[in-house]
C-alpha cells in the first residue's frame, strides 16, 4: 500500500514535468498551428543550461529558475524567426519535417559539445525526506518530489492562465483561429508567433530545469521528452491546455506504475500503447477543445 502510494507520488512528479513540456507544445500549436518536434531539444537545452549555471558556474539555484526560461524562450523565438518563418507559407508536411530536423540538429550539436556523457545535476532541496504514517506503513516523500510537483504544476497553471485570460493569450488564440482576421484587427503575425514561441520554449526550458536533477542531462533526454510531451498532449486533446496537464500526470503515473509492477523496459511500450489507444478510440483526446465543425 505504502509502496503503491510512493510509486504514484513519483509518477505524479514525472508527470508534472511532462505536463509542463506538453503545455509548451500545445501553446505553440494553438497559436501557430506548428507541431514542434524540436520541443524535446529545447527541454534538453534547458536541463543543460541548468547544469552549466548550477554546477559549472556555481550560481544559486533560484537564478537558474529565472534565467533558463528566458534564455530558452529567446532561443525558441530565434529559431522560429530563422528557420520556421521562411516555411510559413509551406504546408504542414514541410513544417513538421523542418521541426524534426531542427530537433535533431539541437541534440546533435549538444552531443558534439558534451560527448554524450550523462551530466548529473544536484537537487534543489537536499533536506531529510518527510515521513507520513499511513496505517501501519510509512510513506516517504522527498522534498524534491513535493517541490517539482507543486512548482511545475503552478507554473503550468500560470501558463494556462496567461493563454486563457490575458490580452496576450487572446492575440494568440485569435491568430490561430483566423490569421487573416487577426491581422486585420491589428495583431502582427511576427509579434504573435514570436511571443508564442517564446512562451512555449520558456515552458520547455523550465521543464528542463525541473527535470535536470532526476533525469540528468543527455542527448537522449530530447527524444524521450518530446515523445512523452506529445503523448500527454494527444491524451489531452492536443489543443487543450488543461487536458495537457491531466494527460501529463496520467502518463507519468502509467509509466512509473508499469515500470514498478511490470518491467522498466516495457514502460515506454506501455505508454505508447496508451497513446495508440487514445488515438484510435478518441482521436479528439479525452478533453476535446471544440466540437469538430462540418467542412
Amino acid at each position: 500500500m505504502a509502496e503503491l502510494l510512493m510509486t504514484i507520488v513519483g509518477g505524479i512528479k514525472i508527470g508534472a514535468i511532462y505536463a509542463l513540456a506538453a503545455i509548451g507544445l500545445v501553446v505553440i500549436h494553438k497559436a501557430t498551428k506548428t507541431v514542434n518536434f524540436a520541443h524535446g531539444g529545447l527541454v534538453m537545452l534547458g536541463a543543460f543550461a541548468t547544469y552549466e549555471m548550477v554546477v559549472v558556474f556555481e550560481w544559486p539555484y533560484w537564478m537558474a529558475y529565472i534565467a533558463v526560461p528566458v534564455l530558452i524562450g529567446a532561443l525558441g523565438a530565434l529559431l522560429e524567426f530563422v528557420v520556421l518563418k521562411p516555411l510559413r507559407r509551406a504546408d504542414l508536411f514541410t513544417v513538421i519535417i523542418g521541426t524534426i530536423f531542427l530537433g535533431t540538429a539541437l541534440s546533435e550539436a549538444y552531443r558534439l559539445a558534451e560527448n554524450s556523457e550523462l551530466l548529473a545535476v544536484p537537487a534543489l532541496f537536499t533536506g531529510p525526506p518527510l515521513l507520513i504514517d499511513v496505517g501501519s506503513d510509512v510513506v516517504i516523500f522527498t522534498r524534491e518530489q513535493i517541490w517539482v510537483t507543486l512548482g511545475a504544476l503552478a507554473v503550468g497553471t500560470a501558463g494556462v492562465a496567461i493563454f486563457r485570460y490575458s490580452s496576450l493569450g487572446r492575440s494568440m488564440r485569435a491568430m490561430a483561429s483566423n490569421s487573416r482576421g487577426a491581422q486585420l484587427c491589428g495583431y502582427s503575425v511576427e509579434g504573435v508567433y514570436g511571443i508564442a514561441w517564446f512562451l512555449g520554449s520558456a515552458l520547455a526550458g523550465l521543464a528542463g530545469v525541473f527535470a535536470a536533477p532526476s533525469k540528468g542531462v543527455s542527448p537522449d533526454l530530447a527524444v524521450s521528452i518530446v515523445a512523452s510531451a506529445f503523448v500527454a498532449a494527444v491524451i489531452g486533446g492536443f489543443d487543450s491546455l488543461g487536458g495537457a496537464i491531466v494527460g501529463g500526470l496520467l502518463l507519468g503515473c502509467v509509466e512509473t506504475l508499469s515500470a514498478a509492477y511490470v518491467s522498466s523496459s516495457l514502460s515506454m511500450a506501455i505508454s505508447y500503447f496508451l497513446l495508440f489507444c487514445v488515438l484510435l478510440v478518441r482521436p479528439e483526446g479525452l478533453f476535446p477543445e471544440a466540437k469538430r465543425r462540418h467542412v
Binding site: V35, F37, V83, P86, L87, A90, L92, F93, T94, I96, I97, G98, I100, F101, L102, T104, A105, E108, A109, R111, L112, V223, A227, F230, V234, S265, L266, M268, A269, Y272, L275, F276, L279, L280, P283, H294
Partner: protein
Amino acid sequence: MSGTRVFGLLALPIGLPALFILAGCLADDYWRYVLCLTVSAVVVGAGLTMLVSFARCITLATGAFQALGAYGAVLLMINLSLPFPLAVVAGGCAGALGGLFLAVPAVRFRSHNLAMVTLVFQSIVIIALRELKGLTGGAEGLSVPAATILGVAIRSDLANLVMACVFSALILIPLMILLQGPFGRNLRALAVNEVGARAFGIRIEHYLIAAFVISSAAIAMAAAIVAPRLRIIDPDSFGLYSSILTLAYPIVGGLGSVWGGAVGGAVLRILPEVLRPIAGYIELILSTVVLLTMLCFRGGLSEMVSRLWPARSEPARSSRGSDAVVVSALPHLVQPHDHSAVEALVTDKLVKRYDALTAVDGVNLKVRAGALHGIMGPNGAGKTTLFNTVSGFIRPDAGQIRLFGTDVTSDRIEQRIGLGVTRTFQNLAIFPSLSCRQNVIIGFGRNSIGAALGRSAGWALNTKTSREEAERADWALDAVGLAHVMDLPAGKLSLGDQRRLEIARAVVSQPRLILLDEPVSGVSQQEVEQLLVLLKAINRDLGATMLVVEHNIGFLVSLCDTLSVMASGRIIAEGVPAEVVARRDVLRTYFGETDEAA
C-alpha cells in the same frame, strides 16, 4: 515517347547498380563495402519516395522496417537454412506485413499524428527486438552467416557488392514502374487534392495502405540484401536515429522527383565516407543540410541537376483565352449516347440536415436524359449540398437518388463513376503538380487500387489499352482547346484554362451525366462565352446530360433547356429558363421586394 519511357524506367534500376559494380571492380575492399551499403540506401530512398514524396506521409519507422527485413531474413537463414534469395523475399514479406499492420490503423491520421504513430511503431519494434532475447539475441544482436546462392557461399566484398547490386536492380524495376506509372500518378494526385482524387474513384485509405506496404517491403528487402555483409545486426543500427537519417533521403534528393529518394540515398550514404576527417560532425552537418535544402532549394538535388541540363523548349504558355480555340464541334472519335425514355437523374424527397440547419429540404428533381438542366439560387440555398448528395460526396439523411434508373442513394462515388457520372468543382480540384495529360487520364475513373496496379504494368509494357488512354486524353484536351499545353503542369494554367481542364477530365470517360459546379465562377466574360459554346458542343456531340449549378443567370439562361430555382433548401420554381427567371417570386428571392414598389 516509348524510348524515353523505357529509359526513364531502366536508367536507375539497371544503370546505377551497373555503375556501382564497375566502380567496385576498380576500388579497394573498403569502398566495395561502402558501395554495397550505398546501393541498399538507394533502394530505401526509392521506397521512401513513394511514401514521403508522393503520398506525403511523414514516416519515422524506416529503421523498424529495415530491422524487420534484416532480422526476418537472417532468422530464416539461421533457423531454417533458407537459401538467401528466398530469405530476402521472406524479409520483404515481413516488412510488408509490418507495413500493413502499421498502416491500417495509421492512415486515418495525417501530418503530426501520423508521424507520431510511426514513431510509436519504430520504438515498439526496437523494444521487441531487445526483449525477445531468445530469438533475436537481444541488444548484442545476431551474427549473420554468409549468403549462399545455389550452394555457392558469397564471401568476398566484391561478390557481396555484385549480389547486392543485382538484388537492388530486381527490387528497383517494379518500384520504378509503380512510381512512374498510374499508381504513382494517383498517389501524387491524392496527396495534392484529396477531394478531386475521391471524385474519380481514388480511395484515399486504400492507396495510402498500399503505399505503406509497398515501400516497407522495398525498405525491408534493402536491409536484408546487405545483412550478410554487415556480419552482425543489432537493434541499435535500426534505431530512431536511422529512421530520421533516411527521412532526409527524399528531402535532400528532391521531393518532386521520381529519382529524388534514390539520389538522396546515394549521396547521403557516401557523403560521410568522403567527410571521414570530420566524422564527428556528420550528424549535425546532415541535419543542417536538410534544413538548408528545405529553406533554400525546396526542389532538392534532382532539381539542381535538372537545371544544369540545357533547358528544353517549353511549349507556349497559354495566354488568357486569346489563342484558345473556340470549339464548335467535337471530332468524332466517339459515338454519342443515345437516349431512351429513361430519366438521367431523379431525386425523391431528398433531405440533408446539418444540426439545426436543413440544407436540402425534400427536393424532388427530375433531369431528362440528354438535357441541359440548370440550378440557380441565392447563397445558402442548398445548391452545393444537393449537388454533393447527387455526386456521392455526402449521404442524404432521407429520400432517394436514382441515376439512369438505378438507385444509388447509399452507393459510393465509385459506383456512380461506373454508371457514367462525373463532376467538376466550384473551387477547382485539379492536381497542380501533374501534367494536363495526367490530370485528364485520371478522369477515366479506373482508379481502384487493383486497377491502378494492373494499369501500371500495362503502362510499362505499353499495351494497346494504355496507348489508347493517352490518345483519348489528347483528344479530350484538344476538344477543350488545351492541346498546346498537354505536358505543362496543370498548376501553371490560367483559371479559365483550369476550368477547361476540369471539363476535359470530366468528359474523357464519355460520361452519360456531367455535374458542373459553378463552371464559370471567377472567369472572364470572354471565357464565359467560350465555355458556353464548349458545353453546348459536348452536350450535342457526346450526348452527355448536364446538371449545372451556377450564379451567373445570363449564362444559365443561354445554356440550359430547363432550370430549377432553389431557396432555403427547396425548389421554388422550375421550367423553361427565360420564363422561370421572369417569375415574380424568383425575382423576389434574388432582388427583394423592389420590383413591387416600383
